[in-house]
């Protein structure tokens, strides 16, 4: 089974987000970058699925981003992914439609070269832009079934059994491969890359292309921080002596 995981490089934001002066980006001067959380789980899931299959398989990771996104591809390689593809941008933001189109082009070219994928994994939504649509757009263009928000996945006899959260429990979807599955964090706990894995990843060749930027129809104008609600905090005291005051509050709220 051949699995492709599509990931995104995003800033590892801390307690507080600050914006650049032109309000176009998060100020990343003091931030590192990471694979968007849902997609990090998708990488882990790809590895587990292939490891568990008697026939094994191959894994590849794909990202669309600036040259620096090589760092996230190498992270995925260090976890154990075999191949990496970078769709290099000039740093401009690509909207979901443009991103999906560029990915479809690469996958189609592979298909034509007889190197098709049986399973395409995405994150349910990118942590930063939260577009909720790249996986679905790719599935539609390639005429593949797509299950989103998956928190449990099993591959058996050319079928994917996927479960996702719904009110009151989980709902089950069964689709035939090839298929697109979008993953939600919580499906697994991603592994830490091993030292030998890191060293091996450093030496791997990354396939690269530079697709042409295009306007997909959703254009960022500016970013802004949500208004903080003014807050008055009442300090109940220090240490265990504050307990009676807390319980008084809980009683007032009818919770005790």
């Amino acid at each position: 089974m051949n699995v492709l995981v599509c990931v995104k490089r995003v800033p590892a934001t801390g307690g507080k987000i600050t914006l650049t002066a032109d309000e176009q980006e998060i100020d990343t001067h003091f931030l590192g970058f990471t694979i968007s959380p849902h997609e990090e789980c998708a990488v882990e899931e790809a590895l587990r699925l292939v490891e568990a299959l008697p026939g094994g398989g191959s894994t590849a990771v794909l990202t669309l981003g600036p040259a620096a996104a090589e760092e996230q591809l190498r992270d995925a390689l260090a976890m154990g992914i075999e191949h990496a593809i970078l769709l290099e941008t000039d740093g401009r933001e690509w909207d979901p439609t443009a991103t999906a189109n560029a990915m479809v082009e690469v996958i189609r070219a592979r298909r034509a070269a007889g190197r098709d994928f049986d399973l395409l994994l995405f994150g349910n939504e990118a942590a930063d832009t939260g577009g909720y649509q790249v996986g679905i757009r790719v599935a539609h263009a390639l005429d593949l079934p797509c299950v989103t928000g998956v928190k449990e996945l099993e591959i058996r006899n050319g079928m994917a059994m996927a479960k996702r959260e719904a009110a009151g429990g989980r709902e089950i979807f069964e689709v035939t491969l090839p298929a697109v599955i979008t993953i939600k964090e919580g499906i697994n706990l991603p592994r830490y890359p091993s030292m030998p894995g890191r060293l091996k990843a450093k030496k791997k060749v990354i396939e690269q292309t530079k697709p042409q930027w295009n306007n997909g129809g959703l254009e960022k104008v500016r970013l802004k921080l949500p208004k903080e609600q003014e807050h008055q905090v009442e300090i109940f005291g220090k240490g265990p002596e504050a307990a009676p005051k807390v319980v008084e509050l809980l009683q007032r709220l009818g919770l005790v």
């Binding site: 307690g15 942590a127 649509q133 319980v247 005790v256």
Partner: protein, 325 residues
Amino acid sequence: MMILGLIEHDHGKLSDLSLEMLTFGRRLAAQLNAPLHAILIGEVARPLADRLKAYGVSTVHLAQHDRLDDYAPEAWAQSVVEIVNTVKPEAVMAAGSDRGNEVMAHVAARANLPMAANCTEVQPGDPYRVTRVRWGGSLLEEARLIGTVKLLTVAPHAVAAEEALATGELAITAFTPALAEKDFRVRVTGRVEAAAGKVSLAEAKVVVGGGRGVGSAEGFKALEELAELLGGAVGCSRAVTSLGWRPHAEQVGQTGTRIAPEIYIACGVSGAIQHMVGARGAKRILAINTDPEAPIVAQADYAVIGDLREVVPALSAEIRKVKQG
């Protein structure tokens, strides 16, 4: 020209988020002096039409098909595309829920149109100016949305659901979408019920949450005890699940569960924004933290400055004392 809202339901049970979406859609429709239409998928949803009327819907388009008895995202999307092609709306919207975002993304792909997910504000025109949620609510984006039909979803709780002041006549027009076998290749084929008896984190009235400050997996025992005394649920931060101390199902935040309790008791939680967006629905926050300068304290309504390993057991003891009267 009208605004069209896709109503989300599960076997005829209406999603409250759709009422927020209709409230949002009605305000846009009023600006444009256009009517508000709704689309209901499946005959099983017909009884919902009256509720929609109260929110200002003048026409309901009811998709009838014998296979539309359960959720199938592509079949839902195809039904929407068909009605869009027939009535030519100005904009189509759904709630920014799992299903709402999913169906609208399928509609967008099929119609080859852009889509803006999780909008909090919209200004009509060409292009539309929208404000939408990024980073799960930690950040907002102002964007231009083009397209012959504007497709968007409405961020949960961006507006409160409010009935219309005046409502007119309601027309229900049924149609049978031309659905292919392929439109049903993705459909719900089964369900797993959640374990009974346990208070669900999303619905708990009290959430006792722990962060890295709890110190260990064992440290959560005291939090569990407090949660149980209060009939609540235990939650945690992403740091805690990454350390393997608690299951992901208990994670509160951007990539975890959104909670809405009467009170959120945050123990040893730093208050990183990714965690706090998940706790935005909490009516009150009580922080228990050794550091009075921790971001969580500034965001809390009440705080106890101290070591949670002493404070939490003291709270449990005090509650027991009070309960025993």
